[in-house]
Symmetry: C2
Subunit: 403 residues, 2 copies
């Protein structure tokens, strides 16, 4: 007999364009299980749980859910709280008080860690409860799963942003630096390459947190590219590090730390500006511009991967199948086959909870300033349909006066 | 009898998402006129003319043209050259050498000025030539016309960007500052308001170059909004000025000037960072983030107003009707009627060439930190279909332990 009680859904960490798909996947599937007495949503993730800030989602009209599913950002709101053991104990106690027997938490590896601690608190107290981690992160840095819901849509935004600014840079040539989100993993920055079509399309250079960043090498790379193409488009991860392993951006953002001890990298244009200034001062190139793509990467309204949408919905739905249907705890994973099909499985919480992954070496070219075809093969299916740009193809006219 | 000879098309100034629609409108319409012997395109605007850097567009396949029309940025490439009289004389001489009798130039008011000077050079030399200015600018600051092709698509990008980051700001509350392009006119920054749907949707504050910006007033506005909503989303024009009328951003970007004498404002995150730092230091608000929307506003691939596309195509087509069909020089304009229909007309080059316009007072609210409904009514039809986001609407659950 299956465990009877309430289901609770919450969203943690940075929003994505499809995290609501996962939440709605959980809610709609949970409605089909008679063991689920009510479906609660916590406002602001785990913070909403300890404050009993719950919404009753049991009877929300399906049309409202579907409209929210299609909206970016975390519709139940999020939190940067990183629960310690005492915090997780409180989560468990609140769950117990409300007869919550199924807990679904959408988040990254830290959220998987919270899931694990809460599950252990429940177990230690002899309280039957299943805890499911529903993966999401634009960083694409979770273990076990082939990739993470949220990444494909952010990657699509980055790919289309660089495809567009590359055209802009053709029209008004110079150096363009675009700074992309990603603290330790370069997957999102690498996605800047996915919109390349013509052989001389940018980004011509891509700098990832997986390789030590040197201003000297950067400068010579830029000069070399500029000499070849008369212009240079560059994608730089906000997480690039110096020889000591310190994030270069951290020197410019005032050192503000979040609850995870992470120094603020996003929400500032300082890294891009520093790099642009360096090129202006150390080369003869006149026109140097830097953009920091910022929060639009995860929240822009109207740029979403249809593949990512389907997968995000499905990890939520499968989470309920595993948690309620199979009476298990764990983290939902995706497995790839062929080019390209996905099957869903469950792994243990502890296999996801701790270390995050980085880009494998095979995705980074030897010179450390670009991505390989293996990366393109890996990432291209995830972004779904990409908008495409076309250059004009016309013959030149013979000169008369300037012959 | 109509003047026989070649047609020349060129694109100047900052790219837009639909400037290629205008170019293709010119090319396809010019192909229908037997007076047009060949159709040339200048690479990099007027710079391409004086260097005789011409493409022969006469026989480019229509499918290639249509694909280019759907691509953002200036497909013929652009220039920041601002022709003086000697430069315009050279333009005219090159046109004469190539038997160019019709010149179509897509650009802003400076480009209209170049058109006028070239037309005068031709007239003074007794060389028959018609010069048509095809309007484009994301700044929407041209005289006579109701609005400018290019604005609607950039406005759509800005509206959807702010609609998205507003959801992000709901999920992780704090202060969010988004810096928007626009040197003297606030139209594009004002477009941040077009994605608002719920009564407490941001941007809650909008700062335009038409009003003097005060850091003190800004700070108190932010604190007041934060007290009311627990969060604050702000759209700021890169062109905001202090009491002396100087652009505040100019203090941070190194003072680089273009050929028009304009100090660089875009391509740097410094203004946003300064405003964020000011709020961090002068209020008790913890989480303050700034994004500078940058070149994506005019070049992002895959965000275009379908209304803007049609209008940009049509101003190009009508340019040929006026220039070739009616044997006139001038600037193509759009006139609005009802809600919403557009008719096309021709005005004199000098009525557009000089002063640019700013946002009229009726579009700016009295406190100077937001836009009026009149602005929304004016701008909403221009962006076409807007993506829409939906919040969840569910009842709260009664607390048990925290009662």
């Amino acid at each position: 007999m299956k465990l009877k009680g309430k289901a609770l859904i919450a969203q943690g960490g940075g929003p994505t364009a499809v995290i609501n798909q996962s939440a709605v996947g959980v809610i709609l599937e949970a409605r089909k299980h008679p063991e689920i007495t009510r479906i609660y949503g916590a406002r602001h993730g785990v913070n909403g749980i300890i404050n009993e800030n719950f919404l009753d989602l049991t009877d929300v009209p399906t049309a409202n859910l579907e409209a929210m599913a299609a909206s970016p950002s975390s519709g139940l709101y999020s939190t940067r709280d990183k629960p310690d053991e005492a915090y997780c104990k409180k989560i468990f106690e609140i769950c117990k008080a409300h007869d919550i027997r199924y807990f679904f938490y959408c988040g990254g590896n830290d959220s998987a860690g919270s899931c694990q601690t809460v599950a252990k608190e429940a177990e230690d107290a002899g309280y039957d409860m299943y805890v499911i981690h529903v993966p999401k992160t634009i960083d694409n840095d979770l273990q076990v799963t082939d990739h993470c819901p949220g990444y494909g849509s952010a990657a699509k935004f980055v790919a289309q942003a660089f495809a567009g600014v590359d055209l802009d840079n053709r029209a008004l040539p110079g150096v363009y630096i675009g700074v992309v989100m990603g603290r330790h993993a370069g997957f999102l920055t690498a996605a800047a390459a996915l919109g390349r079509k013509y052989s001389d399309d940018g980004p011509h250079l891509i700098y990832l947190p997986e390789r030590t960043f040197s201003l000297e090498k950067f400068t010579s790379d830029v000069v070399k590219t500029f000499e070849e193409h008369g212009r240079c488009v560059i994608a730089v991860s906000e997480g690039i590090v110096d020889e000591s392993g310190e994030a270069i951006a951290a020197k410019f953002t005032g050192g503000e730390k979040d609850d995870y001890g992470n120094v603020q990298l996003s929400g500032s244009g300082a890294l891009g500006d520093m790099l642009a200034d360096h090129i202006k001062k150390n080369t003869k190139i006149d026109r140097v511009r830097a953009d920091t793509l910022g929060y639009l990467q995860r929240s822009f309204l109207g740029c979403v991967s249809e593949v990512d949408q389907v997968e995000a919905r499905t990890v939520g739905e499968m989470g309920v199948r595993f948690g309620v249907g199979q009476q298990k705890s764990g983290s939902v994973t995706m497995k790839r086959s062929g080019n390209y099909a996905i099957s869903y499985d469950l792994t243990t919480l502890d296999s996801v909870a701790y270390d995050a992954i980085e880009m494998p070496d095979e995705y980074i070219c030897e010179s450390g300033n670009n991505v390989t075809d293996a990366f393109i093969s890996y990432a291209r299916p995830l972004v779904g349909t990409l908008a495409e740009a076309t250059l004009i193809d016309a013959p030149s006219v013979e000169k008369i006066l300037n012959k």
